[in-house]
């Protein structure tokens, strides 16, 4: 435990959770977005509606799911619908306020690569899992938030592959994108918002103890910063306790002894 009393990942999760408020309808990716969205739900935002792409609407998991289709999500959901229905009626039908995603890599426009690292598409050096629901979440949610660790490996000048973007820079194109695309990126160092006109990410806030230099050092493009940078409030004891309890419950629930392999 660092001397701050919390880890950078805890700060990132808490900062992401704080953004989700009221009765927002949130389409949740697995991992960090799911931890943040559930932290919001069990602390300041009990009425948020969490949707997972497995078709679980209004899921209220007591422990974090390991996959987007865990039984815990179905058991605690308001309703469970089919996969075509979740993507057609609920996502593309415009019911989702926030698409909350993780990413392997992003560029300065918040475009996401989850497809390949190095080499070509046909002959990649490292093949990643691919698109999943991201391209249409990015296209159809009213806005997209991305949460990921800040490093030179993740914040790149040019993506090897644009898996998911959610908007087009060509104003002539009647693309069908309904939402604003990626609007916010939350990392372990700070928070970036996209410029509504250019889509470029602008650093808006630094987490406690983080200096601007560290953020620019870990970003492979020339990151612009707001003139008056905000300072994120450190996690409160209440937030930290809720998050740690959630992770604790989760590890107990999923740490059952091996029954195979």
């Amino acid at each position: 435990m660092p001397k701050a009393g919390y880890t950078p990942e805890e700060m990132m999760t808490v900062a992401a959770a704080r953004k989700l408020t009221g009765r927002a309808v949130c389409f949740v990716g697995i991992g960090l977005p799911s931890a943040a969205a559930n932290l919001a739900r069990i602390t300041h935002a009990p009425e948020v509606v969490l949707i997972y792409e497995s078709g679980t609407i209004g899921a209220k998991p007591h422990v974090l799911p390991l996959s987007i289709g865990d039984g815990e999500l179905a058991d605690t959901a308001d309703t469970v619908v089919s996969v075509p229905e979740i993507f057609r009626y609920w996502l593309q039908g415009g019911r989702v306020d926030v698409g909350f995603l993780g990413a392997a890599q992003i560029d300065k426009y918040g475009q996401i690569n989850t497809t390949i690292i190095g080499g070509s598409y046909e002959k990649p050096k490292v093949r990643l899992p691919g698109a999943g629901g991201d391209p249409e979440i990015a296209t159809s949610a009213k806005e997209v938030w991305i949460v990921l660790n800040h490093s030179k490996r993740n914040f790149v000048d040019k993506l090897a592959f644009v898996t998911s973007s959610g908007y087009t820079t060509n104003p002539e194109e009647n693309s069908g994108a309904r939402g604003r695309g990626p609007t916010t990126v939350i990392t372990d160092l700070g928070v970036m918002d996209s410029d509504p006109r250019t889509h470029e990410l602008i650093l808006m806030a630094l987490h406690p103890g983080v200096e601007l230099q560290e953020v620019t050092d870990k970003t492979r493009w020339d990151l612009k910063a707001a003139e008056e940078l905000e300072r994120t409030a450190a996690p409160t004891e209440y937030e930290l306790r809720a998050l740690r309890d959630l992770h604790h419950r989760t590890s107990i629930a999923h740490g059952a002894p091996a029954s195979g392999g």
Partner: protein, 284 residues
């Protein structure tokens, strides 16, 4: 009308070399027992279709049984990489694998189009994505009414769908509950359908609006208790997360993978024996 058979007979009779096979189950009800039986029977040149290839296709790909894969997310859920899938794409081991890659929404729409016997699916999608540049089966069409650009892909009509479900009755009607995923669409899109079930009961007693596949759309029903392990069957057993984590190690090395497959799958006669084999391994 569905015939109730052994899994061995169903796979032998309905899965041919070169068949286009869709083994579905969206993180839930994944038909692992059927996948193993395909490995035992050494089916060749399969054209695999599945939204999330998962461990089940990692096994088939690693054994060199697949010539192509159509998919939308190729990871080990909650763990990370699918190593056999990666090795096939990155290094062509044990043989090159042609991939056709879509998004989840698109794959779901393609099954719906297939079930509807329409030629293609239509949706809003892929805005700004590089995927359409690498997949000739993702194209764009202007809406004839509004001019909006929409993404279209050909319908999926696999030769055979293989699914797992909780229950069937004596007439072969199948009840699926919990996360129903893409089960219904995959069944109705495909030319033949095999369903493995936890149990065959006299009466389904399904609630009125439950997801029931009538026996007359299914070709074969096979009773295979535990047949979705290490995924789960809601109401019967939970996901075996430890196995999915262990798979990361088993599959990360070619020799370890082949040794494990030969010992536990090729070297056993059916799924029950496979379960005993891995349980014995765990005790030692």
């Amino acid at each position: 009308m569905a015939e109730i058979t052994s899994l061995r007979e169903a796979i032998a009779g309905l899965v041919g070399d070169g068949s286009q096979v869709a083994m579905e189950g969206f993180t839930h009800l994944i038909p692992f027992a059927a996948g193993h039986e395909i490995v035992r029977q050494g089916k060749r040149d399969l054209k695999l279709v599945r939204m999330i290839p998962d461990l089940i296709y990692d096994q088939l790909i690693g054994m060199g049984l697949a010539s192509s894969l159509t998919f939308s997310w190729g990871g080990n859920p909650s763990v990370g990489s699918l190593h056999r899938f990666r090795d096939a794409i990155q290094s062509g081991w044990p043989r090159p694998l042609d991939i056709e890659e879509h998004s989840h929404a698109d794959m779901a729409a393609r099954y719906q189009a297939g079930a509807s016997r329409l030629p293609f699916s239509v949706m809003r999608g892929y805005v700004g994505s590089d995927l359409p540049r690498h997949n000739k089966n993702i194209r764009f069409l202007d809406c004839p009414f509004t001019g909006e650009q929409l993404a279209v892909s050909p319908a999926l009509n696999p030769d055979i769908a293989i699914l797992h479900a909780q229950k069937a009755d004596w007439k072969g009607n199948v009840l699926v509950h919990g996360i129903v995923g893409i089960q219904k669409e995959a069944a109705l899109a495909s030319k033949k359908v095999i369903v493995t079930v936890e149990e065959i009961v006299k009466e389904l007693n399904a609630p009125m609006n439950a997801c029931v596949l009538p026996g007359w759309v299914i070709t074969c029903i096979c009773e295979v208790p535990g047949g979705a392990h290490p995924s789960y069957a809601h109401g019967y057993y939970a996901r075996d997360n430890a196995f999915c984590t262990a798979w990361d190690t088993i599959s990360s090395d070619r020799e370890t993978f082949l040794g494990w497959m030969n010992r536990h799958i090729v070297g056993t006669s059916d799924f029950a024996e496979f379960r005993q084999s891995i349980a014995a391994d765990r005790r030692n």
